[in-house]
Amino acid sequence: MMELWTVLYWVYGFVFVVIFLSATAHQLLGIRRYYINFLLKLFAFGQKRVERKRVSSDQDDSETSFSEFDQPALSFEQPRALGIDEDNKGFHMDHVLEYVTAGMASIMEDNVTKYFEPEELPMWNLLSRTNDRAYEFVSARLTVCWVVGFMVRYALLFPIRLIILTLGIPLFWLCMIVVGVFPNGQFKRWLNRKLVIFCFDFIAGSLSLVATFHNTENAPKRGIAVANHTSPIDSVVLATHNYYDMVGQKHTGLMGIFMRALSHASTHIWFERSDEKDRSLVVERLKERVNSPDLPPILIFPEGVCVNNTSVMQFKKGTFEIASVIHPIAIRFDARFGDAFWWQDKFLHYVIHMMTSWAIVCNVWYLPPMTRYPEESAIAFANRVKAKIARQGGMIDLSWDGFLKAQPPKKEWLMQQQQEFARHLHVDNTEEEDQLSTKEKDE
């Protein structure tokens, strides 16, 4: 019995040291990378097993000849009347068919809610949460792997990460207070920068965050930076490498305390989204910043909501009206190791979910700054930046507004569809009526 405790003690101690080191000196030791590579090998093994089983159960007869057909779908950007044959004038009862089919297709899968659900993985990553295909019963060996993985994640990694986190937050808070003591000026900014990056890195260790930063020569030193938004962790990820001031919704509770601490040290902008006045204040403050070269860069997420990282949704134009130079940043998480997307209702559940994943792996690309063209509207500029970010991160560029997550689409869009359909009928009808009336005249 005693030996068991000793062994456990040593194991826990060892893992604690490893994680602590990975939180502080990981770049030197490359610990996190070894871990990731090991996990990848494990997943590949699991996948082979799964494929063997799947092939036998899915007797698929050959697909029909027309698998290349284009599914009718409603576009909200350029509404098009579906199924209208230009040669056949007037209304025909089969005009409804494609609308019905488009509706059914959207019931099966639609292009909005899809992006608010966690990304589907090409292979199973041994987490029960991504298990919708009953992977457990594939093979005994895989089940054992899963159980071991489960134990490791919940009993070993989670408590240790929790310890690191509980160490990290007060540390961070303390650092911010210390920095706040100093008078505003260059030294304060320098100290702030160094400490914040260190603290964030420490906390990131509690998530086993492995972030690779590309094109660091483009990392912004001032001005406005925009990035796509997947989770609250985005800010943490970016802050482990470069210092930013944050803009965000005021929170209560733990996050609130944290935010206030941050504000001691530097000029963040926290606001209340539902308050109009507050919002316009933000705009004012942003304008000020654009013109002050000394202040650190400010980080903005123009989508306004968290999206599941396979696509980039519509950028709100506000930021793009204020600034003419934007530094785009693309963040792409590798969901195989742990999904950073926040879909849980409670923040606590989300944090637990993240801390019991294998790791959070992501790539960050700093893109060269983009300038608004003289005649370009804010919306066009926003779309241009969005397209660049989407392309860099390998994500789909969508025009849907992220707020559709919570609100129903505007009536105007329905009316637009109706208008398009009517247009095709009406034109034909006026022609027919003209023909009829000329016929009448002749008679």
């Binding site: 029909t64 027309f66 209304f91 991504t130 919708d132 849907w400 009316m415 569809q417 109706q418 009406h426």
Partner: protein
């Protein structure tokens, strides 16, 4: 997908649905995943609101009609259909959900097509018009659909004449209404298979 509720579909259920609809087990599982993610109340059924929460459906002019099709369980006597007939007014369960979607499966030459044969698809389209289920499309019913499709963009008079013309062209037995046979005749040259099929993902 499927993160919120575990797979509660039994093997037997999957097999039943497969024989009834022709969907593959993997397609059924995926549809179940979709069903549960649409089911915000987590009570195993979908309400109208659940459907209309899908933005692409909410902007579809026929959105309401399409949702209605799920709630109006058809009463055709299918030899292989042991389901209780009319669905409860406000909720759709998974079996009903899949049955309706099954009409849109592509037609497979090598298979026995129960729910997605051309005639079945046409009948489904017919029911989009035939609201009172009397197997006839009246002028009012046609007008109702036209109105949904064009909104305020065409005057009532013009819609009336369109409706009359359509019935005139299709009506063979002179009863001023369109029966299912007349409907099929009118759509003879339509590629129903292409216009009413969806690729279901595995």
């Amino acid at each position: 997908m499927g993160n919120k509720s575990s797979l509660m579909l039994q093997e037997q259920d999957i097999r039943d649905i497969q024989s009834e609809t022709g969907f593959l087990p993997s397609q059924i599982e995926r549809l179940y995943s979709r069903f549960t993610s649409l089911d915000k109340g987590d009570n195993g059924t979908l309400s109208r609101e659940d459907f209309l929460r899908i933005p692409e459906l909410a902007i579809n002019p026929l959105g309401d009609r399409i949702v209605h099709a799920f709630f109006k369980e058809s009463e055709d006597d299918h030899p292989l259909n042991p389901l209780p007939k009319p669905s409860e007014d406000d909720h759709v369960n998974f079996r009903q959900f899949v049955r309706v979607l099954a009409h849109f499966r592509p037609i497979k030459r090598t298979q026995d097509n129960k729910l997605n044969a051309r005639e079945e698809k046409l009948h489904f389209a017919f029911k989009m018009y035939d609201l009172d289920d009397d197997e006839r499309i009246s002028r009012e019913e046609l007008l109702a659909v036209l109105h949904m499709m064009v909104g305020e963009n065409i005057s009532d008079d013009q819609l009336n004449s369109i409706a009359e013309r359509t019935i005139l062209e299709a009506d063979k037995d002179g009863d001023q209404m369109i029966s299912f046979e007349e409907f099929c005749c009118a759509l003879e040259r339509t590629d129903v298979e292409q216009k009413m099929s969806i690729k279901f993902l595995k």
